[in-house]
Structure formats: C-alpha cells, structure tokens
C-alpha cells in the first residue's frame, strides 16, 4: 500500500510541477491543484497508513493517528479558497490584457489586440475589483 500511495503522490506532484511551469494561466491553475492534491495525500500519509482503523483513541483499541486528518482538512479548505481566488485573478488578467499568458502582456497596439479602451500602466483610478 505504501508503494501505491508513494507512486500516486509522485505522479501527482510531477504532473503538477510540469503544469505549473507552463506559460498559460489555465495550465498553471491546474498544476497548482494537482500539486495541492499531492501535498494533501502526503500529509495524510505522514500519520502512517493503516487499514480499517478509526481515528479514535480508546484504551487498547487499534487506531490511526487523527491529527494528520485534521491537518489535511485545514489544508484542503485553505487550498480551495486560494485556488478560487487565483482563478478569479487569472480571469481578470485575461479580461484586462486579452491574453491568458502568465505575464499578461499589454495589448501591443490598440488596433492589433482586442479593444481594451487603452488602459495605462497604472490602470484607471477608481476601478474596483
């Protein structure tokens, strides 16, 4: 079982890092998601793998370490919130630059790129998110 979990974590992490290094925001978001899956599995495994053992401590009972499960739960919640924010930010970069490149290049000329209303380097003051 250890081997299966290790291979799964390794595969997820490798795919995650590969996608993280891509130039398009969508691939980067997917990569971060895969990476956080790998991390969550790893955290879960840090309490040792056991089959059929409840995470409840009783006298003499067979149990699995409950703490990593609590840690994973926290990590999942935080990772989910962060990814949601990243998706929103990526969409905003796409809307503002007309391109989903991670560097979100400026439209080169108003005629060449999609019409953007000529936003300056600093953007218009008074625009909310």
């Amino acid at each position: 079982m250890e081997a299966v979990v290790a291979v799964a974590i390794g595969t997820l992490a490798a795919c995650g890092v590969f996608l993280l290094l891509r130039a398009r925001t969508f691939a980067v978001v997917l990569g971060l998601t895969l990476l956080s899956y790998a991390v969550n599995l790893f955290l879960f495994a840090s309490g040792r793998l056991m089959l059929g053992a409840p995470p409840l401590i009783r006298d003499g009972a067979f149990y699995t370490d409950p703490l990593p499960q609590a840690l994973v739960l926290t990590a999942i919640v935080i990772g989910f919130g962060m990814t949601a924010y990243l998706v929103m930010l990526a969409l905003r970069a796409l809307a503002e630059s007309g391109d989903d490149h991670v560097d979100a290049k400026e439209p080169e000329a108003p005629s060449a790129g999609p019409p953007q209303g000529g936003r300056g380097q600093e953007g218009g003051a008074g625009e909310g998110p």
Binding site: L20, V39, S46, R48, T74, R92, E96, G123, G124, G128
Partner: protein
C-alpha cells in the same frame, strides 16, 4: 485579564474584520472609524503585551485551555511582543494614510487590511508550526487582495505571479510540516525542539524537513534565488499597502530566527543547517543595491531598498549569537519604518509631478520644500548616514559581526551596498526635485490631506526618533535576543515542568 494579553493583538483586528464585514453597506466613514479605532486599540494591546513580556517571563496562552503539546499555544516572548508592537504601529500609520481615499478605489479594503494584521500578529505570536502555516495563509490571502486593490493591469499581473509563487511556497510548507510530523510526531515548536535534541533515528528526514521549512521562510523573506517576486509586486502595490508589506519580509526573517534559535541550533541533526545562508544573504544585499542603482522609478527603488534590508537581516540567523541577534533586531525595526516611508513619499511625489510621475527623468518644476525635506531625511536614514537610526542600526550590526568569521565578507558587502544605495538615492533625488523641464506646466495636484501628511511625517520622524531613543530600543533588543538564545526557558514555559514525562509512542 493578564493571561489573555497574548491573544489581544490577534483578537482585536479579527473582531474588527467581522464588524467591518457585517457593516459593509454602512459607508466609508463608518468603516474608516472602525478600522482606525481597531488599529489604535491594537497599538495599545501590543504595547501592553510588550510591557508584560519585558518582565522576563514568556507568556503562554493555551487556546481552549488544551495543554501544550496537544493543543495550540501562543507564546509571547520579548521578540514576539516587540514585533507585534512594530506591526501595530506601522499598520496604524498605513491605515491612516489609506483613509485619505485609497480605500475608496475598490471594495472591502478595510476588512482585508484588518485581516492582514491578524495574519501578521498571529505569525509572530504562535508557538505551533501548523498554526504558523495557517496565519501565513491568512496574511497571504489578505495580501493578495490588498495587492490587487485599486485595479489596473500592472497590479493584476504582479498579483498573479505573487499568488502563484506563494501557493507553490505553501505546498512546500505543507510538505515540510508533513515530514516533520512524520519524523517527530509533533508540530509544537517547543516539543519539536525537545524531540530534535533527543532524535536517534531518521536524521536525514529531520534535516530535510528543517531545510524545507527554512527554504519556505526564505521565500517569504526574499532570499536571493527566491527574491525576484519582491520588486515586481511591491512596486505594483498601492502606496499604503506597499508600506505595510515592508513588514512582511520580516515575518520570514523572524520565523527563521526563531526556529533556528529554539529548535535547530541546539539539535545535533540540524546544528549546521544554515551554513549556506550568510553567502546567499550577502548576495541578496548586493543584488538589491544593484537593483536600486538601476531602478527607473522611486517606487521600484523603494522595493529594492526593502529587499536590501531583508538581505542584511538574513545574514544573521546563521550566527546564533546574542550580540548579532540584538543588533539585527534594532536594525529590523528601524529598516521597516525606513523602507515603508519611501512608498508613501513616492505616491505624493508622483502626484506632484503629473505626467513624469515618480520616474527619474526631468519633470515639471516641483516646489515642495517639505516633501524634499522628508525625502532627504528618509534617504539619509535608509542609506545609513549619521545621525539617523539607519546609521546606528548598521553600526551595531557591523560591530556585532566583527568577532565572527564572516566579518570581512559582511563588512565589505554591507559597506559597498550602502555606498551604492546612497549614490542611487542622491542621484535620483536630485533628478526628482531639481531636474526640471521649464516648458512643462505644473500639474494641478490636490492637497495631500492631513491624514496622508500625518502618516508621512510620522514615518519620516521614526528615523530621528529611533536614533534619539536608540538606547531603550537597543536594550530591549538585547534582552529579547538573550531570551531567544536561551531556548530552555521557552521550552519550559510552553511545555510546563513535566515536559520530560510526556508519554511518547514509538511509531513504525
């Protein structure tokens, strides 16, 4: 009441966040009042905590009254208390500055600002490594939103890089915590220290976990190969936000200082872990000085200055000595204020120069004697000219490094970098204020407003004031350093007297 003092600096901004969220539709004046009141209460709470911590005992707050290795604790020693006071002061000034109108450029500025304070204060106060991760995330989540506040492509672009990088850093943080828990079976810092010292197996895994942890803190503190995000994102952020961010690199530095002094240095498995840190830190200082020379705008220059001070401080943790740490803590406080003020000055100068903004090229005539005086004082402070606090901080740091083997390298790098920064500030300051194009009409800039003026005056005054009161601040720093480098007291305070008798199960 006294036993609740360590949690007040976290609880006050958190309560303010909730009130601000509930009162989202009540108008900006109401939000500003709540935010500023919470910031002032936070200053008072942090000052009280500093007074209490300075009695010499480490204040331990067990959340939910669960005892230490099983529950989460907050531990306020002199270092943590002093950092909360620095943070609270800086945050109050930045919030005052933002209340002039920056907070109106988007929604939800005030709740995020308070949440940022929650994260910062929690990261300084917590005594549990997983709780540190949670407070780091609170701090980062708020900083993502604050960085993007105000809108514009430059901020979105910088924000995207910043968020992706920090999410990757969080993944590494969790891997380090998983390794640490898998090896030691605990994440409480005091307990980690105890078990690392008694470690008789899995040396390599413990070293790897510790190294990963330091690498993550180094990413937050912007150590050289991990520092390219800082100039981009700090220069893109709005002025009061960037000024508050000046303390964020310090969170990473304090975290490294703390884990090194309490857990890693006394344990045989990790004692020599940070031997690579000083060369990289000195490279960061040089890199930042060259960046300051090459900067094209004042806000870029300010970001490079923040990076430079972080680099100088990162040279410290590897030399686990009381004298070096004491000097570093004084330097940390003064460099935070000195770095923050440039972002505020840059915004005002950009307003007064119209089209030329804060870029270092000829602009319209700029008749602003008070602004010029403020710039001069801040530049003299940050480049380490006497008689200001930058000079005292750098002198203390150099003097503390003199007996260490790294003295030659530290002296030559810090002095060279100081000279480069001074050259850059002198050249660019004269360009900003004196290099004028007579045919350009002076732009119609609005008044600075009393809030922004007060904030800038307070931050500029921090340089001379910290020099004037250098003795009490440096004495406090020395006491904090002595306490930090006596980890037995910390471990005893957190775990209680019967720390040795906690039953430990050997795991497969």
């Amino acid at each position: 009441m006294i036993q609740h003092a360590p949690i007040l600096p976290i609880l006050i901004p958190f309560a303010a966040t909730l009130v601000l969220l509930a009162a989202a539709g009540r108008g900006l004046a109401f939000q500003r009042a709540i935010g500023l009141a919470a910031a002032l209460a936070g200053v008072a709470a942090a000052a009280w905590l500093t007074l209490l911590a300075d009695r010499g005992d480490i204040l331990v707050y067990a959340l939910g009254d669960w005892p230490a290795p099983f529950g989460i604790v907050l531990a306020a020693d002199r270092l943590a208390a002093g950092m909360t006071l620095t943070t609270a002061l800086l945050a109050a000034v930045c919030l005052l500055h933002a209340s002039h109108g920056f907070d109106a450029r988007g929604r939800h500025f005030h709740p995020f600002f308070q949440l940022q304070i929650v994260g910062l204060q929690g990261a300084f106060l917590t005594g549990d490594l997983f709780n540190l991760f949670v407070f780091f995330e609170v701090m980062l989540l708020a900083s993502y939103a604050l960085l993007a506040h105000g809108g514009g492509l430059a901020r979105t672009r910088a924000g995207l890089a910043y968020v992706v990088l920090n999410l990757a850093g969080s993944a590494l943080f969790l891997i380090a915590l998983g390794l640490l828990y898998g090896t030691l079976g605990t994440l409480n810092l005091a307990d980690v220290a105890l078990r690392l010292q008694g470690l008789d197996h899995d040396f390599a895994l413990a070293r790897l976990a510790a190294a990963l942890l330091v690498a993550v803190f180094a990413l937050k503190a912007a150590l050289l190969p991990l520092s390219f995000w800082l100039p981009l994102s700090y220069a893109a952020a709005g002025a009061p936000v960037a000024a508050l961010f000046a303390i964020m690199t310090k969170v990473g530095i304090v975290a490294i200082l703390r884990v090194q002094a309490i857990a890693f240095a006394p344990a045989p498995a990790t004692a020599d872990l940070l031997s690579w840190l000083t060369p990289l830190a000195l490279a960061t200082v040089l890199f930042a000085a060259l960046g300051a020379l090459a900067a094209a705008r004042l806000r870029d220059l300010a970001a490079w200055l923040v990076l430079g001070s972080a680099g100088a401080l990162l040279a410290v943790p590897a030399h686990a000595g009381t004298a070096v740490t004491a000097a570093a803590l004084y330097y940390l406080v003064q460099s935070t204020f000195a770095g923050a003020v440039f972002f505020l000055l840059a915004e005002r100068i950009a307003e007064r120069r119209g089209e030329a903004a804060d870029s270092f090229r000829a602009g319209p005539a700029l008749a602003a004697p008070w602004l010029a005086l403020g710039f001069f004082l801040a530049a003299a402070t940050v480049s380490g000219l006497p008689p200001f606090s930058g000079f005292i901080g750098k002198l203390m740091l150099l003097e503390a490094f003199r007996p260490t083997p790294a003295a030659a390298a530290v002296w030559s790098v810090l002095l060279t970098a100081g000279f480069l920064v001074m050259t850059s500030l002198a050249r660019n300051g004269s360009r900003l204020f004196w290099d004028r194009k007579p045919d350009l009409p002076a732009p119609a800039a609005g008044p600075a407003g009393w809030r922004r003026a007060t904030a800038i005056v307070l931050l500029v005054a921090a340089g001379p004031l910290l020099a004037l009161f250098a003795r009490p601040v440096a004495d406090y720093a020395a006491r904090a350093a002595a306490q930090l480098h006596a980890p037995q007291a910390y471990i005893g305070a957190v775990l209680g007297k019967d720390a040795g008798s906690i039953w430990r199960q050997r795991r497969p």
